[in-house]
């Protein structure tokens, strides 16, 4: 019984850490325009729209976070093998991984922006100075929480994978969940804030991103402020649910029916999420209605 209570406690803590990680990951990626919306940041100068948006995308979020978290976890693992206290080892490992992220962000911004020189896009040194540290701070939160979560899964729940491998697995999953959930909100709702609400961006408007703020030119800190209101928390809840439910169904139901218990609970959870999704889809169709009349009526 004590084991189960301990397992539930660790599961809840890992879920909470994952929630914070998802929120920080998405905000970091939106400030750095790392996800798919970077295509518009890169495209805008080519269409004649010069901007002051930070752009540090070279890899997608999943491989980038796979690298950083595996790096943080690997260094922390090495420090722990040297008998350094686990918390100190994780902090040191994550700090070093964050410096790598900072180098990556700097070279990515300089490289990507320099490639736009023939379209007249300048490299803003003040943007580099002010944005890089902010993305590094958010990256540290995301890396630290995920590495700590992996350490709990390994050390307290007894998962067989070593810490660096867990870091790679959950780093890629974190990037996948964060980019899937958060990208549309930054890409459509923030970059194209002047377009109609409640409709996709027409392909003809591609590249015409919003470049001016309430006062002066918009920069990526404004974007981080905006997306932290919905895309960040939603990504956090998404990743938190993935981690929590995966651990919960294993810790509680794995012993039931020689492993079949966890499978049945997993299938039930999938069906529940499917029903919720269908409800949301139907609700949107009814509430927002069609954009045009059905073809049969109009023809």
């Amino acid at each position: 019984m004590e084991n189960i209570v301990f397992g539930i406690g660790i599961t809840a803590l890992a879920g909470a850490l994952a929630t914070v990680a998802g929120a920080a990951e998405n905000t970091e990626s939106d400030i750095g325009s790392q996800g798919d919306p970077n295509s518009q940041v890169q495209l805008a100068p080519q269409m004649g729209y010069l901007h002051r948006i930070f752009n540090k995308a070279v890899a997608g979020e999943p491989p980038a976070y796979g690298l950083w978290i595996a790096l943080g976890a690997g260094i922390a693992w090495a420090f722990m093998a040297m008998q350094i206290n686990a918390i100190l080892a994780i902090v040191l490992g994550c700090a070093l991984a964050t410096f790598i992220q900072g180098v990556y962000a700097t070279t990515a911004y300089l490289g990507r922006t320099a490639s736009l020189a023939k379209f007249g896009q300048p490299v803003f040194v003040d943007i580099l100075k002010s944005m890089t540290t902010v993305t590094m701070a958010h990256a540290f939160v995301a890396i630290f929480t995920t590495v700590t979560m992996c350490h709990l899964i390994n050390a307290a729940l007894g998962h067989p994978f070593p810490l660096p491998l867990l870091g790679l697995v959950w780093g890629i999953a974190l990037g996948a969940a964060g980019s899937a959930t958060g990208n549309p909100f930054y890409g459509k709702e923030r970059q194209y804030q002047t377009q109609n609400f409640g409709a996709g961006v027409p392909i003809s408007a591609s590249g015409n991103i919003v470049r001016y703020a309430e006062a002066g030119q918009r920069n990526s800190l404004d974007n981080g402020w905006f997306t932290a209101k919905l895309a960040g928390p939603a990504s956090g809840v998404c990743f938190g649910l993935i981690v929590f439910l995966e651990l919960w169904r294993t810790v509680i139901f794995e012993p039931v029916g020689a492993g079949w218990g966890a499978i049945i609970v997993g299938i039930i959870l999938i069906l529940i999420f499917m029903v919720i999704d269908r409800y949301i889809e139907v609700w949107a169709r009814k509430t927002y209605g069609p954009y045009t009349k059905p073809e049969e009526v109009s023809s």
Binding site: P162, A177, G182, P202
Partner: protein, 287 residues
């Protein structure tokens, strides 16, 4: 200026010469393993090929919209094909590897991995629609079919002007979950096959290298076997996911997308690539 406007590269047909060459190569690699490896290693390689095929086939189901989806210009999830499939499949591998500690029933382990991948996709796809509907006020609409093949909902009038559609219609959602199930199952199967081979071969190999007469305790061998199997399983996953992504070329809406008809190419390519990588993964200990 957008991937939406680009014409799909490559046809849905299969190049017969290339396919025959790929199948022959795969048979050659299986034959090599049959001749030089133990029967267990041969069976493991067959398991790895099946796992690779499951991953390659599963990726075809995952609705991925890439950059256009991030602007609400195309349906699907706004990230890369290979990376999303990897995220789901590795979440499944995580669950499968955990289950392998407590049970030796292969069916339970593989299905646990499959459900882990499916659950990850079910939650991620739900949040994609959540953001579209409640964050951006946009209903889901497919750009490839007039009616959702599962629900029968009409799609055309829910597409906003100047776009190819947006969000995840129900058929895409179901496709994402099926892709996660296949990916999780494939990744876990590869892991288990490699773990069995490493557990069998590593003790003798390590003992011969160390020069000790006493057998090396299992506590020393297991972490190495688990790590090696996990690393190769992740590597094989990425190989198959990227191959399938090249086959898709850009974006795909799910099983109802015309590009889905290219799945035989993905299966053949995944089988051949998995046979080669699996051969190398087994040979590092089996020889």
């Amino acid at each position: 200026m957008s991937a939406v406007g680009a014409k799909p590269g490559g046809s849905a047909g299969i190049d017969p010469v290339a396919s025959v060459v790929a199948i022959v190569l795969m048979i050659v690699m299986l034959a090599i393993m049959y001749m030089i490896g133990t029967p267990m290693a041969f069976m493991a390689l067959i398991g790895i090929v099946i796992g690779g095929v499951l991953i390659g086939f599963g990726v075809m189901f995952v609705p991925v919209g890439g950059a256009p989806a991030a602007m609400g210009q195309a349906p699907g999830i706004a990230t890369g094909v290979a990376m999303l499939a990897a995220g789901a499949g590795l979440a499944g591998l995580f669950g499968g590897a955990w289950a392998a500690q407590t049970t030796s029933n292969l069916l339970v382990i593989v299905i646990t991995g499959a459900v882990g991948g499916g659950l990850m996709m079910a939650i991620t796809c739900l949040f994609v629609n959540f953001i579209y509907v409640y964050g951006m006020g946009i209903p889901a609409a497919s750009g490839k079919v007039k009616k959702d093949p599962i629900t029968g909902d009409t799609q055309t009038e829910y597409k906003s002007q100047g776009t190819e559609g947006h969000g995840l219609p129900f058929v895409s959602y179901v496709g994402g979950v099926i892709g996660g199930l296949f990916g999780g199952a494939g990744g876990t199967l590869i892991y288990i096959m490699l773990l069995d081979v490493y557990e069998e071969s590593l003790p003798a190999m390590m003992q011969a290298q160390s020069g000790q007469l006493l057998p090396i305790p299992a506590a020393q061998i297991m972490p190495i076997a688990v790590t090696l199997a996990g690393m190769f399983a992740i590597g094989l996953f990425l190989v198959n996911a990227v191959l399938a992504a090249y086959n898709i070329t850009g974006t795909i809406e799910g099983p109802h997308d015309p590009k889905f008809k290219r799945w035989p190419r993905a299966v053949i390519a995944s089988a051949t690539a998995s046979a080669l990588v699996g051969l190398v993964a087994i040979m590092i200990v089996a020889l």
